[in-house]
Symmetry: C2
Subunit: 163 residues, 2 copies
DNA sequence: CTACATATTAACGTTAACGTCAACGTTAGA
DNA sequence: TCTAACGTTGACGTTAACGTTAATATGTAG
C-alpha cells in the first residue's frame, strides 16, 4: 500500500515539544510500559515515529481528561495501541478458536470501558446541572443588588422595590 | 442519649462507613481545608452532621469523576460548600458594593468552571466515539470468524461488509 | 576533526495523598 | 465504676509520578 516505510524519525526533544511532556516523563512512560519502546540509532539514541507521538497524545488525554492513574491506563493501553497502529487487530495467533476467544474478550472489555465512560459522562452532566442552578441563584442575587443600588439605570423590567 | 432536638450527629466511624473514606482520609481532608471542621464534644471527639457527609460526597465525586487533585478541588470547594449549606450565599459582607463585587466574581468563576466541564464532556464523548468505532471493528472480526468456523449458523445479518 | 549541544543510564530527591503505629484520652454499656 | 471499644494527636512510612543531578556517550555544525 504505502510505497515505503515512513522514515521520518523524531528525537526525544522533538517528541517533548510535540506532546508537551518532559523528556524524563517520556522515558518514564516507556520504562513502565505505557509506550512501545522505539527503535534506537547505532549509538543508542531513541528514534521515535509519528505513531509514538499519537500514542502519547492518547495517553495524555486518558490521564488528563479521564483522570486515570498510569496503572489504570495500562489496562486501556491495548486499545490505544490498536488505535494508533502499533499493534495489529489480529495478533499472530493462528488458531481461529483462540483468535475468536481473544476477540470476544476484547469485545467484552470494550463494552465495559464504554459503559464506564458513559457513567462518567452522566455524573459530570449532573454536576454541571448543579453548578448551573447555583450560578443562576448567584445571577439572581446580582440582579437584585443592582436594582437596589442603582434603581433607574438598568434596562427596566423590574417593578420598583420598596424604599 | 437521644436529645429532643433533631440534630443527629455522626462519629468519625459513621462518616467513614457512609462515605467509604477511611478515618485517616477524613481527618486529612479536614486538615488541608477540604472540609469544614466539625464541632467537638466536651472531650474533643469530632461530631459530624449530615451536611458534612454530603459535602464529602461532592468532594469524592470531584476527585473520582473529574480526576481533580485535592489542590484543584480547593478552588472548587467554595461552591461545594454553598451547595451543601455550610456557607451562606451572602456572606457577612455589609457593604452592597463589596457584596456585589464578590457575587460578580463568583459568577465569572462559575462560568469558567462550567465551560471547563463542557470541554471535558466533549473530549470524553470523542474518546467514546473512537472506542465505539474500534469495538465495531472487533465485532465485525468476530462475526467473520464465526461465519468461517460455523458456516451454517442461522445468524444472517451479513450485509456489505465486504467491498 | 573539533567543539558543543544533545542523548543515555543510574541514582537519589521531591510532593501528594494517604497508611500505619504508638501513646494516650473519651465514650458507652454492663 | 470499670473496661473494652473507639477517638485524638503526633510522627514516621509508603507509593506514584515524576524532577534533578552527575557522569558519560553520541550527533552535528563548522
Amino acid at each position: 500500500m504505502t510505497s515505503y516505510k515512513d522514515v521520518t524519525s523524531y528525537k526525544i526533544d522533538d517528541v517533548a515539544r510535540e506532546t508537551g511532556l518532559t523528556k524524563r516523563t517520556i522515558r518514564y512512560y516507556e520504562e513502565i510500559g505505557l509506550m512501545p519502546a522505539p527503535e534506537r540509532s547505532e549509538g543508542g539514541t531513541r528514534r521515535y515515529t509519528q505513531e509514538h507521538i499519537e500514542h502519547l497524545r492518547r495517553v495524555i488525554e486518558a490521564r488528563d481528561v479521564l483522570g486515570f492513574s498510569l496503572q489504570e491506563i495500562q489496562e486501556y493501553i491495548v486499545y490505544a495501541q490498536e488505535l494508533t497502529g502499533h499493534r495489529q487487530l489480529y495478533p499472530q495467533i493462528q488458531e481461529p478458536e483462540l483468535k475468536l476467544a481473544k476477540l470476544r474478550e476484547m469485545d467484552g472489555a470494550l463494552d465495559a470501558q464504554l459503559r464506564a465512560l458513559q457513567e462518567k459522562i452522566d455524573k459530570i452532566l449532573s454536576m454541571k446541572q448543579e453548578l448551573e442552578q447555583f450560578r443562576d441563584r448567584v445571577s439572581a442575587g446580582i440582579a437584585r443588588l443592582e436594582a437596589e443600588h442603582d434603581p433607574q439605570s438598568t434596562k427596566n423590567d423590574m417593578e420598583g422595590t420598596r424604599k
